[in-house]
Amino acid sequence: MSLLEENTLRVVLYEGEGATELPAEERFNILSALLDKGYTVTRAGTGGRVAPADRSAIVALGRFDNGRAPEAEDASGEVSVTFENIDGQAPADLAERIDALREETRTSKHGEWKPWFPVIDYDRCTNCMQCLSFCLFDVYGVDDDQQIEVRNNDNCKTNCPACSRVCPEAAIMFPKYKSGPINGDLVSDADMKREKMKVDISSLLGGDVYDMLRQRSERAKSRFSKERSSDKALNERKKCLTKLVQEGDIPPEVLMSLPSPDEIAKKAEEAAAKAQAALDAQKK
């Protein structure tokens, strides 16, 4: 998942010296086409500042003077630089041309995964390890200083904000979530009251949220299997799950994919042990 060791591609729409300035509409169309394909694009003209160069490969697009793209290379030889004349290329064709250059430069491809993962607000986090002991999918871990961290963000279940709901400090965000404070909006006093209520509900249920989820999911499955009419069964199943989905905003596909009770128990035990070990290490 990490790109630290991979090479990335930076596209520069160059409109400075030696190139013609593009009409605004064309500039917009090119930028939109490239952004939709997942590229990072810099629009550079004769003035203004942009992010400095790094080791990313660069493709400089422009309507260059005399219709010829310049030839140049990085003096240090560390960065791959390619110039591409855009004359006569529609934005969609240009985006495809960049795809081809990306493959030639062996740089990473973006946009294959909806980036859904928890982001920790360390200003709020108290390192209580509730998220570590709650998550069954090994998303969380601790660093060398026993500080909670998001370790395997691609293990996270898309659209599931469940761990943020067990955080007593509202410190876990999912920036693509629909509402606050999970989406990163400021945390209100009302949000904190809801956090307290959430803990109480968990206690009322015997403190085992997974068991509750599993039992309700099993009941829904069982009811589904007994129905003869598939339409009726589907409706019933939807009705059973709707409440859970509404209560915790947990996607039905996550509920239906929960492992068996034994596996849940084992994973929950492992996660709780990890959390306890981290808490014990903090005390030392």
Binding site: V50, R55, F117
Partner: protein, 142 residues
């Protein structure tokens, strides 16, 4: 005269949480302005992949970022090992602000740093824009 802060635009490509008309209008206004700027497909994806490009985007002085909530943007950069400079970063929230408001703020030379610090709550925001920097009022429209 101080330098014009750099501009960074996030297209939030892989979810529909930023109103498409706002995203489009802001990008169009940037293109119309002729200003130099950096644009990324999705800051979340870059953060998840610890894209080194995020570090590049934090370097080089003051920056204005058109994206989503300042608290989320702060920790997205931090998670990728590229912390934003508190006094040199202003985040414009395309989820709640109008396109015109975001565009004007991006293209203005004035920088209103608004990266939260500590445990900010909605009640920390000033009661009206006149009580504090406009950027704070924009953060919390409730």
């Amino acid at each position: 005269m101080s330098e014009q802060p750099r501009i960074l635009y996030c297209n939030c490509a892989y979810a529909k949480i930023v109103p498409p008309d706002v995203k489009e209008a802001v990008l169009r206004r940037l293109c119309d302005s002729g200003a130099a700027f950096d644009a990324v497909a999705d800051l979340c994806e870059m953060s998840a992949r610890k894209d080194p490009g995020l570090k590049r985007l934090t370097e080089g002085g003051a920056v204005k970022i058109a994206a989503c909530y300042p608290r989320a943007v702060k920790w997205l950069f931090s998670a990728a090992g590229a912390p934003l400079v508190k006094d040199a970063t202003e985040v414009l929230n395309m989820r709640v602000e109008a396109a015109e408001e975001v565009s004007s703020a991006l293209l203005s030379q004035e920088l209103n740093p608004n990266i939260p610090e500590g445990k900010p709550r909605a009640t920390d925001a000033p009661a009206s824009e006149s009580d504090g920097p406009p950027s704070m009022a924009r953060q919390d429209p409730q």
